[in-house]
């Protein structure tokens, strides 16, 4: 459950991240691949070495989708419908990986925002990421 204050905070934070979407997204992915190497199995078709074009491009797409979701929190299911189908029928990612990636996004935000990543901001973003990944996993079965 997100309060109105939390929804505003979430939009503010992702709006700040949009101009550096490539940096944030690729860093979150790199952190995930380094700490949880099994997640690399989903990217055998891409070059995911640090600062590779694929990593940056993919990272940017992810942050842009998150920012879009943040601006449409009350209609996440409709907004994310195409991505939801994609994750269910094409990507078929094991659901535990959403939590792993969400954690790495939080770590990346903490590194970039420092003290500004307050406990309240952390809680709001964590709840948002859980809701976002629940929609992405909705059509899995």
């Amino acid at each position: 459950m997100l309060s109105n204050t939390e929804k505003e905070l979430i939009v503010q934070i992702w709006d700040k991240m949009l101009p550096v979407a490539e940096d944030i997204g690729s860093e979150a992915l790199l952190r995930m691949f380094t700490t949880f190497p099994k997640t690399k199995t989903y990217f055998s078709h891409l070059d995911i070495s640090p600062r590779s074009e694929h990593l940056c491009c993919h990272g940017k797409k992810i942050v842009q989708a998150l920012a879009e979701g943040a601006r449409n929190i009350s209609t996440l299911t409709t907004t994310l419908a195409p991505l939801s189908r994609f994750h269910a029928y094409q990507l078929r990612i094991h659901p535990t990986n959403f939590k792993i990636f969400n954690h790495c996004i939080l770590v990346t935000l903490a590194c970039h925002m420092g003290e500004n990543f307050t406990p309240v901001a952390h809680a709001a973003i964590d709840k948002f990421l859980s809701a976002f990944s629940a929609v992405l996993a909705e059509k899995f079965r």
């Binding site: 380094t34 939080l106 406990p119 809680a123």
Partner: protein, 147 residues
Amino acid sequence: MVKWTDAERKAIKAVWGKMNVDVIGSQALARCLIVYPWTQRYFDSFGSLSDAASIMANKKVAAHGKVVLNGLGRAVQNMDDIKNTYAPLSVLHSEKLHVDPDNFRLLGDCLTIVVASQLGRAFTPDIQAAWQKFLAVVVSALGKQYH
């Protein structure tokens, strides 16, 4: 037995060395109680935990955070035998405190995020990986004596 590379040992001790033990433990515990409110169930005697502000101002939370982090320090000093170092703590958390061990991982995640916000870019992906491997061993050792 867990194997640590030299790089991992160095990374973990470096992170530990940069931590202000008096402050980080309290921040991590407060964060855990705020982000994962069900963890408050173990702290009924701590007084007001009704919102983020009261949790962050709560002196018992702050004191307990220090206790927890000093406990983590013992794991840093005994990296090659965390399981046995933590056996009594594991028994305590299981038989006296009755803590669901899944919550240890959540506190570990909050600690990682506090460390990340303090170290910023210095908390590189490689250092994060070593630190999280260490916390995973700690969490596993804390859950070992449950039956």
